[in-house]
Amino acid sequence: MIDLALLERHGLTRDEYDRIVRTLGRAPNETELGIFSVMWSEHCSYKSSKVHLRRLPTRGPRVLQGPGENAGAVDIGDGLAAVFKIESHNHPSFIEPYQGAATGVGGIIRDIFTMGARPVALLNSLRFGPLDRPLTRRILEGVVAGIGGYGNSIGIPTIGGEVAFEPGYAGNPLVNVLCLGIARRDALVKGRAAGEGNPVYYVGAGTGRDGIHGATMASAEFDERSAEKRPAVQVGDPFMEKLLLEACLELMKTDALVGVQDMGAAGLTCSTSEMAARGGAGMEIDVALVPQRESGMTPYEIMLSESQERMLLVVKAGREAEVARIFEKWDLHAVKIGVVTGGGLLRVKDQGEDVAVAPTAALVDEAPVYERPMQEPAYLREVQALEPAMLTDARPPEAAFLALLETPAIASKRWIYRQYDHMVRTNTIVLAGMGAGVVRVKGTTRALAVSVDGNGRYGYLDPERGAMLAVAEAARNVACAGAVPIGATNCLNFGNPERPEIMWQFARAVDGITAACTALGIPITGGNVSLYNETDGRPIDPTPVLGVVGLIEHAERALGRVFRAAGSAIVLLGENFGELGGSEYLKTVQGLVRGRPPRLDLARARALQGLVAALAADGLIQSAHDCSDGGFAVALAECAFDSGGVGAVVDVAGASLEAPYDLAAATLFGESASRVIVSVDPAQLEATLACAAAAGVPARAIGETGGAHLIMAVDGVVAIDCALAEAERRWATGLDRFFAGRAA
C-alpha cells in the first residue's frame, strides 16, 4: 500500500509519484518505488541544479572526457590523460566522522580507477565549526583519521588541501575529496553497458544493509534526529578496495572489458541503470545471485544498499575465464549476476521472478528537472555594507599580524597533513604544506599541480564573486607551482534548494564559475553538487570548492612557496587595492564578517596566471606564493616559514584606498585578488620585471630575503618588525594548541 507517509519516507513528492505511475503505466511496487526514489533523489538526479550546471564551460582542446562519466579527463601529452574529480561526503561525515570521511575517499578513488586510470594523488577541502568547540575537535579528529586511514592504507598520497573554520559549519561539516589519476589516453574506460548477451559481473565486498537510502539522506536537511540515521553511513574497507583497484587495472590491460562502474550512491540500482542508459541498452539481473553478507535481505534492500567496495562490470561474452583468472589471483570472486539486454529496460529478478521492471532512460535521463524559484537573500545588502567606523579594534599592525598567524584558518596545517601519507608512490615533488600539491609523471618530463580552493565567507557575502575568486585562487595556486591550468572540477556545497534564497546563491555561484572558467580558459570536466547542507534550519555558507589541475612541462622547474636563500630579491606581482571586505583580518581582528569580497578583474587574473607559470618555466624565479587569506603580510610570512630561518625586509607601496581605512592594515591585510610574491636571484631581477611588463602585470621589487626578522614597511614607514622565530612559532602551533595535553 503506497500512501503519503511512504512517499515521504522515500523523499518523493506526490507529483513525482504521479510521474512514476505515468512512466510505468501502472502503480510501482515497493521495490520499484525504492529504485525510483534513489535515482530521482537530488543526489543522483541533480534535479534542482541541472538547469544551472548546463551553463558551465566544459569544452577545451585538451578535454578528453567532460561531465557525465565517472570522472573527467584531460590530455597531458605523451599519450597520457589526467583523470580527476572531486566529490563530497558531508552528511555521512557529520553522523560518523571517521567512516563518513573514509568512505568519501574510497568512493572518489573508485570513480578514478573505473576510468582506467591509476590513482596517483588525493586532496581534500574541509570545513568545520570553530575549533574551540569540543564537537568540532571530535569531528575534525575523526575526519582526518578517516581520510588518512583510507588513503594511507590503499597507498595513494594525500598531497594537499585546505581547511577552514566558520560557525556556519558547526552542525554541517564539509568533506570534499579530489582524486587524480593517470591513464593512457587511448585506454580510457567508460561506464557503459553494450552488446546484447554480454555478461554482467558483480565483484567486491558482499552486500549488506548498510547505507540503505544514503542518497536520500544526502538529499534532506539534518535535525536533532539525524543520529538515528547512523545505519545509513557505510563502513569502508580500504584493503578490499586496494585489491579491486589492482585487479581492475590488470583486467583493463586486456580488452575483455566493455564497461565498469562502481556502486556508490544508490548502489546496484544506480550502477545498473546508469551503465545501461549510457549504452542505450537494457540490463537484466537476479538479486538472488548477488553476494550477500546478511541473511534474509529483500530485493528492495539489495538494490538500495550502499555497501562499499563493490563494482559492476560488463565483459565481452566468451572472455569469462580470463576475468575469473585475474580476480582469483587477487582472492576476489567475480560473480555473474545478469546480462546486457536490448530494449532499454532494467529488469530485476529474484530467483527468476520479476521483482522490478523500469525503463533505464526513465530512471536516469527522465528524472524530474526543477527550475526552482530564486530570490536574493534579504541579509545580503545589510552585510555587504562596510564603513571605516565599524573597525573599532585599533591594535597595531604587528599585534594583528601575530593574531592572524595563529588563527586556525591561517596557521600551519602540519597537525593534519602529517597524518596523511603524502609521499607514497614517490612522485610528490612539492611536499604537503609547501605549496600546491605537485606530483611528477614517471616516464615523462612532466608533472601535475593540483589545488583545491574555496572561501565560504566570500560566498556568504557575494556568491557570484566568491565563486569567481575560488576559481582564480585555485588557478593562481597551480600557476605558482609553475603549472598551466588545464582543467577543473567543482564541488558545490549549498543549503536547501527548495528555499529561493539558497537557489539564488547556487545560481549566482554557477554564474561566477562560468565567467571565471571561461575567461581563464579552464574547462570544467565534472564535479559534484551537495545540497541540503543545513542543520535545524541553518544553512551553511555557500561554498563552491574548485579543484584545478595544471601541467608543468619540466618537473624540475616546479616551485613551492618557500624562500630558497638569503639575498634574493622579492617581487610583488599584481596590484593592491587595500580591500578588507570579507577578509580574515576583519573576522579575526575586528570580529566582523562584512563587506564585499575583493573585486576580480579576469583579464588581469589571466595575465598574472600566465606570467607566473612562464617565469617558473623559464627558471627565472625561485619561489612563488599567492596572497589570499590574511593578505600580503601573511603571504610574505608564509614564504619565510619552513625556509630554515630566511627572513625578509620589504617596503611596499600603500594601497589606494576606497575609503579612509587604516593605511597599514588595509595594505598589509587586505585580500585584493591576483597578487603573487616571488623570490628572484638578483641576477634575474631585470629579466623578471621585463617579463612582467611585457605581460601587462604590475610588478615591483619590494625588498630582499634574509635576516632573522620579518620587516614590513608601508610607504617607508615600518609597520611590522617581528622576529621570524616568534612569528613562525605562533603559526606552527596555531592548530596544535587546540589539542595540547593530548597525544602529539
Partner: protein, 241 residues
C-alpha cells in the same frame, strides 16, 4: 645484481622500491607475488612497505603465512641479504626473522614526515657504504612503528651491536625529541644475528632522488650492491658514490 620485490596483497610501496633499485640505482628488479615460492634468482630480497592484508588482525600477522615467506626464510638462512621496510619490517618481526614487536605510535596517530637517523653499524650489507654516526634524512609513514622488545632481548640486541639505525636529531644526537613514535632506545632499524636480515621503519626507497626532498636513502641500496660485489668492488662503488 637482481632485486626481488615481494608483493603482498595490500603492499603499496612495492612500486616505489622497484623504481628506486631499477630506475635510480640501475639494478635489475622483479616483482614476486606472495603466492609464489620462486624468488626469481634474486640476489637481494626486499619486503616493501604498505598495509599487507589491510594490517587487519595485527601488522604483518597474516603476511607471514604467505607461501613466499618460507622461501624468504630459506634465502636468509643461506646468507642472502633481506631488507624489510616499514610493513616489511613488521612482517619480519611477525615471522620471527627479527626479534621484538611494534606498538602503536606513542601519539596514537599515523605520522608521515622526514626524520633523522643515525647509522649505528656499518657491518651489515645494507649499511656497508655508510660511516658510523652518519646522519640520514629519511621519511617515515606509519601508525605502528613504536619498537618494543622484552628487556633481555633489548639488552642482547644492544650488546651484539644489532641496532643499526636510531632516531636522532639533525646533528646525530640521540634524544627523545628526535624519537617520533616512542621506540625503545630510539630504535629505527635492527638486524638478525647473522647481520644479513635488516628491518627498518623509515623509507629509504622514498629518499633516493633529490627531487623527492632527500637522496640519503640511496646509500642503503648501493651498500648491498657493493657488499655482494665483494670488497674490491665495494671500494669502487664507494668512490663512485
Amino acid at each position: 645484481m637482481r632485486f626481488a620485490v615481494v608483493v603482498f596483497p595490500g603492499s603499496n610501496c612495492d612500486h616505489d622500491a622497484y623504481h628506486a633499485v631499477k630506475h635510480v640505482l640501475g639494478a635489475e628488479a622483479a616483482f614476486v607475488w606472495h603466492k609464489d615460492t620462486d624468488l626469481a634468482g634474486a640476489d637481494v630480497v626486499i619486503l616493501p612497505g604498505g598495509f599487507s592484508h589491510g594490517d587487519y588482525l595485527r601488522t604483518g600477522a597474516i603476511a607471514r603465512f604467505s607461501p613466499v615467506m618460507a622461501s624468504v626464510a630459506a634465502f636468509a638462512a643461506a646468507g642472502g641479504p633481506v631488507i624489510g621496510i616499514c610493513n616489511g619490517f613488521q612482517i619480519l618481526l611477525e615471522a620471527g626473522m627479527l626479534p621484538g614487536a611494534m606498538l602503536r605510535n606513542r601519539g596514537l596517530k599515523f605520522l608521515c614526515e622526514h626524520v633523522h637517523l643515525r647509522v649505528e653499524r656499518t657491518d651489515t650489507p645494507f649499511t656497508a657504504l655508510c660511516s658510523e654516526g652518519q646522519v640520514l634524512r629519511l621519511p617515515i609513514a606509519h601508525g605502528d612503528g613504536n619498537y618494543y622488545a622484552a628487556p633481555a632481548v633489548l639488552a642482547a640486541l644492544e650488546a651484539e651491536g644489532r641496532v643499526i639505525f636510531r632516531y636522532a636529531g639533525p646533528d646525530g644526537r640521540v634524544s627523545d625529541a628526535g624519537n617520533p613514535n616512542g621506540s625503545l632506545n630510539n630504535i629505527a632499524g635492527i638486524c638478525n644475528e647473522a647481520r644479513n636480515v635488516v628491518g627498518l621503519m623509515p623509507h629509504p626507497e622514498r629518499a633516493c632522488e633529490a627531487a623527492l626532498g632527500s637522496a640519503d636513502g640511496l646509500v642503503v641500496f648501493r651498500s648491498v650492491v657493493a657488499s655482494l660485489a665483494g670488497k674490491g668492488a665495494l671500494r669502487a662503488v664507494a668512490r663512485e658514490a
